[in-house]
């Protein structure tokens, strides 16, 4: 029971850090375009993060709980190692202001710890391959949809006064940011619900076929909202102004594209990275203005962090798993 409490505590801590780390995804564009002050922006995002549980079913949570690692081999040791690796990697990328994916951090840690605990047969490779495929697809989809929305918006507004357009899109950005926050809450909070569900199954507190208890759903969304309220400002700065300077209609296009991608993947149960999606969308709207509007130098370390996240957290989890086995278990 002590270990189960620790696992749930670590899972919720990861959820807070996930919200904190990925708050940038929801608010960077509205802060970057000065639609809302930083304080109001996190409040806006946290609220819509929290209420997303009312909208989506738990497809992503079920994928994480039963679709990545065979649930019967999962032990508390595996979960602690995976969560600690994920927390450490997220804190490291936050420190360097890199918008890396919290989802991939968690999945990498979970997979690495499962391999350390039960060998390579513990992993369901078809699901992991799908997730790896979406590392490349999510930013591309985000970029493509954002580019299309930008083109449509520019075409509609081509004869309008620039100030009026800006004023209208500042208002519309509130809606697109809310939609993105709902998608973020639905996708990311569900990943930790999946981990807690696995812990409950492994400790015999929950049947493998049972649905995820409501207290798990509500505590995960609360932790995510608390994390978002803190706001990881280093990453907000990278995404809101370092990659490219955004105008309100570009912020709107990027967020709407991100929201569309997240809504579709949440419905399909694909645990896609919210960070990759919105970063791809921001690059897309910047590049449509002109290729040199994107600071490609800033995007290179981000790309490295994306590629490294799953292997690095996997290896870190293996290491922590061996340390845990050696120390206490």
């Amino acid at each position: 029971m002590t270990i189960l409490i620790i696992v749930i505590g670590l899972a919720l801590l990861f959820d807070i850090i996930n919200g904190f780390h990925d708050a940038a995804n929801s608010i960077a564009t509205i802060v970057g375009t000065r639609v809302l002050s930083p304080g109001l922006a996190v409040l806006w995002a946290a609220f819509f993060n929290f209420i997303s549980y009312l909208i989506f079913e738990l497809h992503v949570a079920n994928t994480i709980a039963k679709g990545i690692v065979h649930p019967e081999i999962v032990t508390m040791q595996v979960l602690i190692a995976g969560l600690l690796a994920a927390i450490l990697w997220n804190l490291a990328t936050w420190f360097f202001g890199l918008p890396s994916s919290s989802s991939h951090t968690l999945i990498g840690g979970f997979v690495g710890a499962a391999i350390a605990g039960a060998g390579f047969s513990a992993v369901i490779y078809s699901a992991v391959l799908k997730i790896i495929l979406f590392i490349f697809l999510a930013p591309l989809i985000g970029m493509l949809v954002a580019t299309l929305i930008s083109i449509v918006v520019m075409w509609i507004c081509k004869n309008s006064n620039r100030g009026t357009v800006s004023r209208h899109f500042k208002k519309l950005q509130l809606l697109s940011a809310a939609a993105f926050s709902i998608g973020h809450g639905a996708n990311d909070a569900q990943k930790i619900m999946g981990i807690i569900a696995v812990a409950l199954i492994a400790s015999g507190e929950l049947e493998q076929s049972a649905s995820i208890p409501f207290w798990v759903v509500i505590s995960c969304h609360t932790a995510m909202a608390v994390g978002t309220l803190l706001g990881g400002w280093r990453i907000v700065k990278t995404m809101g102004s370092k990659i490219t300077r955004l105008k309100p209609f570009e912020g709107f296009s990027a967020e709407t594209s991100g929201a569309i991608t997240l809504f579709s993947t949440s419905l399909l149960g694909i645990p896609v990275s919210t960070t990759h999606t919105i970063t791809g969308a921001i690059v897309g709207v910047g590049a449509i203005r002109r290729i040199s509007a994107v600071r490609w130098g800033v995007t290179i370390p981000i790309l490295y962090a994306w590629i490294l996240t799953i292997p690095a957290t996997g290896l870190l989890a293996v290491l922590i798993h061996y340390i845990l086995r050696w120390i206490a278990f």
């Binding site: 029971m1 801590l13 706001g231 400002w233």
Partner: protein
């Protein structure tokens, strides 16, 4: 240790220890993050202030 952790009773000493570590981490994050936020807000304000126009010195 092994036996203590896996029985149904709760080992409050360990739970409290983990809780203290978690709270300490969150406090550290909040403090560092507040510094980052102030820095970012200052940069935002600075980027909005346009330099004053000076006359070129001609009479």
């Amino acid at each position: 240790m092994r036996e203590n952790l896996f029985v149904m009773e709760i080992n409050y000493a360990i739970v409290v220890l983990v809780l203290i570590a978690v709270v300490a981490l969150i406090i550290f994050l909040i403090r560092r993050n507040n510094i980052d936020r102030k820095k970012m807000e200052k940069e935002m304000i600075d980027s909005e202030i346009k330099p004053e126009k000076h006359d070129s010195g001609h009479a």
